[in-house]
């Protein structure tokens, strides 16, 4: 499918690390609040209430623009996007149109054939509308409820050029963007509704279809996969794809027609008279100085400073919390060993459990595990079991090693086990001597079983060979 798929994204991210909404003093912390309790005349759009721009939101937006290698505007302006919808209390959304805060950026993501350079068309600020709540599903609900707590939440819309060539690249773009926003500390991607994506997708030479309402990270790839195969099927049957807007249904994993080109919305954009043009001339140098180390830079530093592989550095820096975790561990033990254990084992175990690293055991415990490994107190297998126990049940590694008998058995115990196994498996010895290699592995396995996995496999190997050669 590569080569014929063209994808552009519009990513809406809530700047949910801000304290207050975009145009009023209401708090942005609203997880778990009763509906319509974090509102005021401004975000409810009551007649006469006026918006005032949150200066910090502008600063955050500029920092995002800089992190995405954009040009920052000297003058920026808000516009009204006019349309009627119950979640929009003023009948228009305050957004940007001409004069966005940042434009002409670039973000590179990995693709199967090398790096993919994705041009960023623009980054602009806008307010989130309220949230519609349906009883049951959208089709069967007899009424709709509106929660305006979300109304006025600061959003950043990042619009790419149609430079992506596969759903996988789109997913990578989203992940990288999320990662950068989290490095900048302007965004917490783990909160519900923090990120929403509209995707434009077409097959080469075909009409462009916009998919709206993709609200999960995994949904981006799934929605695009579905839509591309829908378009390819049409092409195969000789049916022309029409330009339209489709809605992504996450639960059923399909896209449904929302409106066709003829029903295209007419938003009557015009400059918001209540917010005067904003001059941000001269803000850039100060904010550029405030930029933290970003993922790519950190990856290079990790490679240099800790001598770890590019693959490990990439995995570790692709999530700020993992990178921070690793730095805590790497400073106190053998960094290369720690890289393997954080990037390969811990991340794998977390993914398996759908857990965030912030809910994992703390780095000090990881350091302890690394020390025990290094000293030969526990085996690799023991370490894995230990980590699983810590993730699933908590506790302290020292106690778990004792309770579960994870400490590596001494050499004489291993030797005894080997001798016993050889005695009990005459047949296998015969097979081995007859040249059947798997017989040796079988014997190793039997020893490990006898020692409950606590023997050091390399030691077992050595002892087995020794004894097999001389008896």
């Amino acid at each position: 499918m590569d080569g014929e798929v063209i994808i552009g994204l519009e990513v809406h991210c809530q700047l949910n690390k801000l304290n207050s909404k975009l145009f009023c003093g209401c708090s942005t912390r609203q997880q778990g609040l009763e509906p319509n309790t974090m509102t005021c005349p401004v975000c409810l759009g009551l007649p006469g209430a006026l918006p005032v721009i949150n200066k910090k939101a502008v600063e955050y937006s500029i920092m995002v623009g800089l992190a995405l290698n954009c040009e920052i505007a000297e003058h920026t302006q808000f516009y009204r996007k006019n349309y009627y919808y119950p979640d929009l209390p003023r009948g228009f959304q305050i957004t940007q149109y001409d004069w966005p805060i940042a434009s002409n950026g670039v973000l590179t993501v990995e693709s199967d054939g090398g790096d993919r350079v994705v041009r960023i068309r623009r980054v602009h600020m806008e307010e989130d509308p309220g949230r519609l709540v349906h009883q049951g599903s959208i089709e069967t609900s007899k009424f709709v409820l509106v929660d305006y707590n979300r109304s006025g939440m600061p959003l950043l819309e990042v619009v790419t050029e149609p430079d992506l060539r596969s759903p996988k690249e789109a997913r990578r773009f989203i992940n990288k963007l999320r990662n950068i926003l989290e490095y900048l500390d302007v965004f917490d991607g783990s909160l519900e509704g923090a990120l929403r994506v509209d995707a434009n997708v077409s097959l080469k030479g075909g009409a462009r279809v916009e998919i709206k309402n993709i609200s999960s990270y995994k949904g981006v790839e799934r929605a695009l996969l579905f839509e591309i195969s829908r378009q390819q099927n049409m092409k195969r049957r000789g049916v022309k794809v029409t330009q339209e807007t489709r809605h992504y249904d996450d639960e059923r994993n399909c896209t449904i027609t929302l409106r066709t080109k003829e029903q295209a919305e007419e938003y009557r954009y015009y400059p918001e008279p209540d917010l005067v043009p904003l001059s941000v001339k001269g803000w850039e140098p100060r904010l550029r100085e405030k930029l933290p180390e970003l993922p790519d830079a950190r990856r290079e530093r990790f490679k240099k400073e800790y001598g770890i592989s590019d693959d490990h550095a990439k995995v570790i820096t692709s999530e700020i919390r993992v990178a921070n975790y690793y730095e805590c561990v790497a400073g106190k033990c053998e960094p290369r060993l720690a890289a393997t254990w954080v990037a390969d084992y811990l991340k794998g175990e977390l993914n398996y459990r759908d857990m965030d690293i912030k809910d994992a055991f703390d780095p000090e415990m990881m350091v302890y595990i690394m020390e025990q490994l290094k000293k030969g107190v526990i085996t690799d297998k023991g370490a894995v079991e230990l980590m699983r126990a810590l993730l699933d049940e908590g506790g302290h590694p020292k106690d778990i090693i004792l309770a579960r008998n994870l400490a590596k058995v001494e050499t004489d115990v291993t030797k005894a086990a080997v001798t016993e196994v050889l005695k009990e498996n005459r047949e296998a010895i015969g097979d081995y001597r007859a040249g059947k290699a798997q017989a040796f592995n079988y014997l190793v396995g039997m020893v490990m079983k006898k020692t409950n996995g606590r023997a050091d496999p390399s030691e077992v190997n050595l002892l087995l060979r020794e004894l097999l050669e001389c008896t």
Binding site: L46, P47, G48, V52, N82, Y84, Y270, P273
Partner: protein
């Protein structure tokens, strides 16, 4: 000690309102008004407006008091907050009498389009008080309050001031907070004081003017307008913009305004004719901009959260469409539709952007004129108050009435209208227009004119 001066006087005012035929008010707030008056009597409430009755136009939000904009669509809407200007009135001890009648959403020049019926002109009950702040104008002229707040988007303070024979100020855009003013055309409108004399208007302006961080278009600018109530125009140069005279202007109005200029000349001011060459485009530009903004500003009235909610709830589109169809009057619908059209793709550049260009030219006209003169003098309205119903079937002829007031709003400069004569028993107003934030100059000119003439009269029978 039981003098209860203010309480008694407020009682009298409400008695007068009760027996009035003007229909100046939509909602009265007698209980709170008396409470405030009593507080002033008891020495518990003080301030620069302590005990003075002030009426507030119904498009200005008042906490706990019905606010309708003269529209059916805001039936039952009781705001949970005060507009900044109202908070400032309360802070200075003003007795707020109630909410005054107005053209629906301030769209009009006669107060006839109010859902609550027309207000009558105290000088002639068969005539309009002007608009859109007609209730405020009539209430001030008819002694139903000492002063009042109006809003001026295209002349809505100055027109009723002129028609009702009182003083009205349209401040520089950005001088007075718009927080809590229900928008008609928010890039044009300002809250302005109305009173029976320049001193009271200046006092009211002192109270409401000043920076408000809740309004991004509010400009930090400190001044005390009452300090400029001086009797002196010596050495000033008055500009007379020729485009404001001639065709379409009533002869009596022209004469009264020229007489006013001559009076000031006798008092030591110089005068000269100036040209504001783009004035002829002002009316078209004004209506395009105002209607475009209105189409967006009025989109929020969908009956979902407040205001009119009638009939059975159907789906979203059917329900809000029906509520808007029932809730808005003819003129409001006309302006929303025209504004929506003018902002649409393909027309935006042809109408809205072009109107903005005209606006810039008009602003430059004024800037240029003020390089050579201190203040401009012109008719406020081209004719005195017209009869109720006179323009009913011809909205365009009604729009034409705003020809002398709208350029000021497009430019954003301040203007004051003061009585300068009579056509029969109907008052005539002259407006003095100043440069940006030069309210001191227009107040000084108007005050001097007022002190040296005798046009501050009460209507017959009041």
């Amino acid at each position: 000690m039981s003098m209860a001066l203010y309480e008694e006087s407020v009682h009298k005012t409400f008695d007068r309102i009760k027996h009035s035929r003007l229909n100046a008010y939509i909602t009265l707030d007698k209980e709170n008004a008396l409470g405030t008056a009593k507080g002033v009597d008891d020495g518990k409430i003080a301030g620069r407006l302590a005990g003075m009755t002030v009426a507030v136009k119904d498009c200005i939000t008042t906490k706990g008091l019905l606010t309708t904009c003269g529209s059916k669509i805001l039936s039952g809407y009781v705001p949970p907050f005060d507009a900044e200007v109202v908070a400032r009135l309360r802070n200075e001890g003003a007795v707020i009498t109630g909410k005054t009648n107005m053209d629906e959403f301030a769209m009009g020049t006669s107060t006839e389009s109010s859902h609550y019926g027309p207000t009558k002109n105290p000088w002639d009950m068969t005539r309009v008080p002007g608009g859109s702040s007609g209730g405020s104008g009539a209430a001030v002229a008819g002694l139903e309050c000492r002063m009042a707040l109006g809003t001026d988007t295209g002349g809505s303070v100055r027109c009723p001031a002129s028609f009702c024979g009182v003083v009205g100020i349209k401040p520089t855009y950005g001088l007075v907070s718009r927080y809590g003013v229900i928008a008609y055309a928010n890039s044009l409108e300002q809250v302005g004081p109305m009173a029976r004399n320049v001193s009271d208007a200046a006092l009211l302006l002192d109270v409401i003017a000043g920076h408000d961080p809740k309004d991004s278009t509010s400009v930090p600018h400190d001044a005390r307008y009452t300090d400029h109530l001086v009797d002196d125009v010596k050495g000033l140069t008055i500009g007379v913009p020729k485009e404001y005279f001639g065709e379409g202007t009533d002869m009596k109005v022209e004469k009264a305004v020229w007489d006013a200029i001559m009076t000031l000349n006798r008092l030591g001011a110089d005068y000269k004719e100036v040209s504001l060459p783009h004035t002829k485009y002002a009316l078209s530009a004004y209506y395009i901009i105002a209607m475009c903004e209105a189409s967006s500003n009025l989109a929020r009235f969908d009956g979902l959260r407040y205001g009119l909610r009638t009939g059975k709830d159907e789906n979203w589109h059917a329900t809000f469409s029906r509520i808007r169809a029932e809730g808005f009057g003819e003129e409001v619908k006309r302006r929303i539709m025209l504004g929506t059209y003018a902002l649409s793709e393909g027309y935006y550049g042809k109408y809205y952007l072009k109107a903005l260009k005209v606006r810039t030219l008009i602003k430059k006209d004024f800037e240029k004129a003020f390089k050579g003169v201190d203040v401009l003098a012109a008719p406020t309205m081209p004719y005195p108050a017209f009869r109720i119903g006179e323009h009913q079937d011809d909205p365009l002829s009604m729009y034409m009435a705003d020809v002398d007031t709208v350029p000021v709003n497009l430019a954003g400069v301040p203007s004051i209208s003061v009585p300068c004569g009579f056509a029969g028993k109907l008052p005539i107003g002259v407006q003095f227009i100043g440069g940006f934030f030069d309210e001191p100059m227009i107040i000084r000119t108007a005050h001097t004119f007022e002190l040296n003439t005798d046009f501050q009269k009460l209507p017959e029978g009041f």
